[in-house]
């Protein structure tokens, strides 16, 4: 077991290094940071000086090695545009992204499961068909379009909800939260729906399919034969067994919700890590881009690691299979 975890951890480090190197060799194609930093009529000598102070003239491998060396010591450099350490900028933006991801996931789970169960049990009802249509919309419409549609409906036309930002936040230590103020909670609604809609439809379809599958199995038939109430059969037995794959998928999707909140954050000007990344790309802010990509890679790698470990815990067959070669 320990050997398995160790091997997986080593592989993860390899993945991180590869992500870093690929990212670094791509940054050259993002353009010249210096032109984003100074006015167009800045004297040439001054530009040269800036290039030199940023070490932009060194070969990519040298820049990468320097970056990895610093990163090992926990230093991710300073943002070119904000003149602040990247680590503190990302730490400042992380709560916004995580709170949004949490709300989006909750939204996706609650509504996805409710709608999935309903459309499995009432396959032919009008509401179930409506849910199918909604899920089709959620899968096929791009996120930014959904976000803009929601803004124009709920902010501009109806004037109910804010169109951008996080509202008022409360600071708890280094964490800022929007959960404790009315404006913070209201600001969460539209971005969470936008971000969670795709996941919601995914979960809904998954629950529906699994539920239909489970309802056909023998133990449900035996349960009916035992004379259990429909309610306990549906929710106590069928739904419970449906949830195992749902939880796996939702867990894996959490990673993509955090990583791909970029578009939602851009549309809603949500001050999270994704927005920071987009601003960094526009301004060729290499330190932020590098740190963000590594962080996202780290999130995916750790989630996968945890899932792998959990599998071996849950499923003894896997554990045996792993032991054999070791």
């Amino acid at each position: 077991m320990l050997a398995f975890v160790l091997r997986r951890a080593l592989q993860s480090i390899g993945v991180l290094l590869a992500v870093g190197l690929i990212a670094f060799s791509m940054f050259r194609f993002a353009g010249d940071p210096v032109n984003q930093l100074v006015a167009p009529d800045t004297p040439y000598a001054e530009r040269l000086q800036i290039r030199e102070s940023l070490g932009l003239d060194d070969p990519v491998l040298v820049q990468f090695a320097r970056y990895v060396g610093n990163a090992m010591r926990g230093q991710f450099g300073n943002s070119y545009q904000f003149r602040q350490p990247v680590s503190s900028l990302i730490a400042e933006r992380m709560p916004a992204t995580l709170e949004l991801a949490l709300c989006a996931t909750l939204f996706a789970l609650v509504f996805g499961i409710l709608m999935g169960v309903y459309s499995a049990l009432r396959r032919d009802s009008a509401l179930a068909k409506l849910f199918q249509v909604v899920s089709l919309v959620g899968v096929s419409l791009p996120t930014f379009l959904i976000g803009i549609l929601l803004i124009f409906l709920f902010s501009v036309t109806l004037g109910w909800l804010p169109s951008f930002g996080r509202g008022d936040t409360v600071r708890l230590g280094w964490w800022t939260t929007g959960f404790l103020t009315a404006s913070g909670l209201r600001a969460l609604i539209l971005p969470s729906i936008t971000l969670g809609l795709f996941q919601m439809t995914l979960i809904m379809r998954l629950v529906r399919a699994e539920m239909l599958e489970v309802l056909r199995t023998d133990y449900i038939r035996f349960a009916r034969a035992r004379g259990l109430t429909t309610r306990s059969i549906h929710f106590g037995h069928a739904l419970k067994n449906t949830l195992v794959p749902v939880i796996t998928v939702a867990g894996l999707q959490l990673g993509s919700i955090i990583a791909f909140s970029i578009i939602t954050e851009t549309v809603f000007q949500w001050p999270g890590m994704g927005l920071l990344f987009v601003q960094a790309v526009q301004n060729v802010d290499v330190p932020i881009m590098a740190a963000y990509l590594l962080l996202v890679a780290l999130i995916f790698v750790s989630i996968n690691l945890v899932v792998d470990i959990l599998y071996t815990v849950v499923d003894p067959r896997l554990r045996v299979a792993v032991r054999r070669p070791a």
Binding site: F29, L37, D41, N78, R83, S163, Q269
Partner: protein, 542 residues
């Protein structure tokens, strides 16, 4: 029976979800809280990247700093010079400016404003890392006469020595010493800087909160030395990068001011009851440049020679472009066609220049005369995220030139890549679109930077003359213009230089794009042609 039960459970669940949604919709939903003191909320597409007033020479940043920091001389709503922290100034001799400083002015931290602060700021603004080094003449020495009088001594007469003082903000020496901020925060700072995150000026507003890239809060300075036109108690700045979100925020009343309003949304903003678009021509001129110095044109099918060296080809290009159509169609009327490389408010004799007429037949004849009866191929460099509809302008030009036989291969790319390709040292372009605002708001900058010969490697002349248009007579005039103190004679020299450039068909000026602010009808703003939003001129109905 059992089915009925299931249905009831589900319908209860559905009902409670509906109730939750309805509740969410019904809780107090008015966005802007009704407060007695007016709060002005404004959103710009970019960030306020640094609070250090010497880091970034960018219009919005300079304007935002202008609420907090003040300069010796400032500009009024028509860009005329008016006293700022200097009550008055005079020139006792051609190489000496004397500034009489305002008394009883205090910085936000309480320290008094004196001549020492001016001398300190003059040094700091010219120190390495400052992006405003050229705002104060490099050869000037500052001498303290007494606590409230400072002399600026020049090596040679310079009639425009103070032209860029409006964006040279005065900082407190004591404060800078206390916070280790003696050196300007460079654009590429490798260490975090106190002055980049905190501000201490003498201005009518104080920054009370600054989250870079998120929001910045300005509060009225209760100890301000003079009267302020604005009635604001508070102003909150937010970045909104996405065009649609920015417009939505204005339409829904969450912000009172946005910039820019995309051209396609302007009728929507005007159609909305509470908002309007305010547009005035900007000072930036959009123009086309041609490589006139390479022996062979890069990327062209003409080998062994450079067609742009032939004045007839340059005239043909000029005449083949229908600028009126560009203004009407591409810019939807939000631009003013220009005959000069400088905007009319910056040059009194601009009215005497006319754009040579659009004449595709003449263009064709000229190309044939020059030996290109079937035209030729040329690549064009164009940004796609820098100026209003920049890529669309270049596309229109491409099709206009196609009508006279010239095949343009358009290379439109983001500014980060575009500028790296075309600017010094690469100068890798044959034909390009560029926008320029003279930072001194004076023609000398154009004659020197854009139209000056690039041939002397040791001089900064012509640094942004990307196609190296070169006429020694223009250089000669530029040098005279730099020294001439008689305004009328000076303007005539500038006019002469512009005439030479026009007769050489050296550049193809296109237009001044209009600045488009989206403004709530509750607020009163003063749009200045240099596009700066000055908070001290903003008022809001309660």
């Amino acid at each position: 029976m059992s089915l009925v039960k299931t249905r009831s459970v589900l319908s209860r669940l559905a009902a409670s979800a509906a109730v939750a949604l309805a509740l969410a919709a019904a809780t107090p939903l008015v966005t802007a809280p009704a407060v007695a003191a007016p709060t002005f909320r404004f959103a710009f597409q970019g960030d306020l990247k640094s609070l250090d007033p010497y880091t970034l020479k960018e219009t919005f940043t300079i304007a935002a700093h202008g609420a907090v920091y003040e300069s010796l001389i400032t500009r009024d709503k028509d860009l005329k010079f008016i006293p700022g922290l200097a009550e008055r100034w005079e020139m006792p001799e051609p190489t000496r400016y004397r500034f009489h400083l305002r008394k009883n002015v205090k910085f936000h931290d309480g320290s008094p404003f004196t001549a020492d602060d001016v001398i300190f700021s003059a040094e700091r603004v010219r120190a390495p890392g400052s992006n405003f080094q050229t705002n104060v003449p490099g050869d000037a020495t500052f001498v303290k006469v007494d606590d409230h009088t400072v002399d600026m001594v020049l090596k040679a007469p310079n009639p425009i020595a103070h032209y860029q003082f409006g964006s040279w903000y005065i900082m407190s020496k004591i404060w800078a010493e206390k916070h280790d901020a003696l050196k300007p925060t460079p654009a590429a700072a490798t260490t975090p800087s106190y002055a980049a995150l905190n501000a201490n000026g003498t201005g009518p507003f104080v920054i009370t909160e600054h989250q870079p890239g998120v929001r910045t809060v300005f509060k009225r300075n209760p100890n301000y030395w003079g009267p302020v036109e604005s009635n604001l108690d508070e102003a909150i700045f937010t970045t909104i990068g996405n065009d649609a979100t920015r417009v939505a925020a204005l339409l829904s009343g969450e912000v009172d001011w946005i910039e820019p309003v995309p051209l396609q949304d302007q009728s929507r903003v005007n159609g909305n009851a509470g908002t309007q678009v305010i547009s005035t021509p900007e000072l930036r001129t959009i123009f086309l440049g041609m490589d006139q110095s390479s022996d062979e044109l890069r990327g062209s099918n003409v080998k062994g020679k450079n067609p742009f060296k032939d004045v007839r080809v340059r005239e043909a290009f000029y005449r083949a472009i229908d600028e009126d159509a560009i203004v009407k169609r591409v810019m939807r009327g939000q631009a003013t066609a220009s005959a000069l490389l400088i905007a009319p408010p910056l040059f009194p004799l601009a009215g005497e220049f006319k754009r040579p007429a659009y004449d595709p037949n003449r263009a064709k004849a000229l190309l044939a005369e020059a030996g290109y009866p079937n035209g030729f191929e040329v690549p064009m460099d164009c940004p796609n995220d820098r100026y209003v509809n920049d890529e669309a302008i270049c596309q229109a030009i491409t099709s206009m030139l196609a009508r006279v036989g010239v095949k343009v291969a358009l290379n439109a790319q983001p500014k980060a890549k575009y500028f790296a390709k075309i600017l010094k040292p690469n100068y890798d372009t044959s034909f390009y679109l560029l926008g320029w605002t003279p930072s001194s708001q004076d023609s000398h900058n154009i004659l020197f930077e854009i139209a000056g010969c690039r041939n002397d490697k040791t001089s900064a002349r012509g640094t942004t003359n990307l196609g190296n248009y070169c006429n020694p007579k223009v250089d000669e005039l530029a040098d005279k213009v730099e020294r001439e103190t008689d305004q009328e004679a000076r303007n005539l020299m500038i006019k002469q230089a512009y005439e030479i450039i026009q007769n050489d068909w050296g550049y193809i000026p296109l237009h001044q794009q209009a600045l488009a602010w989206g403004v709530s009808k509750k607020v009163k703003v003063a749009p200045r042609p240099d596009n700066q939003l000055m908070l001290y001129w903003v008022s809001k109905e309660q």
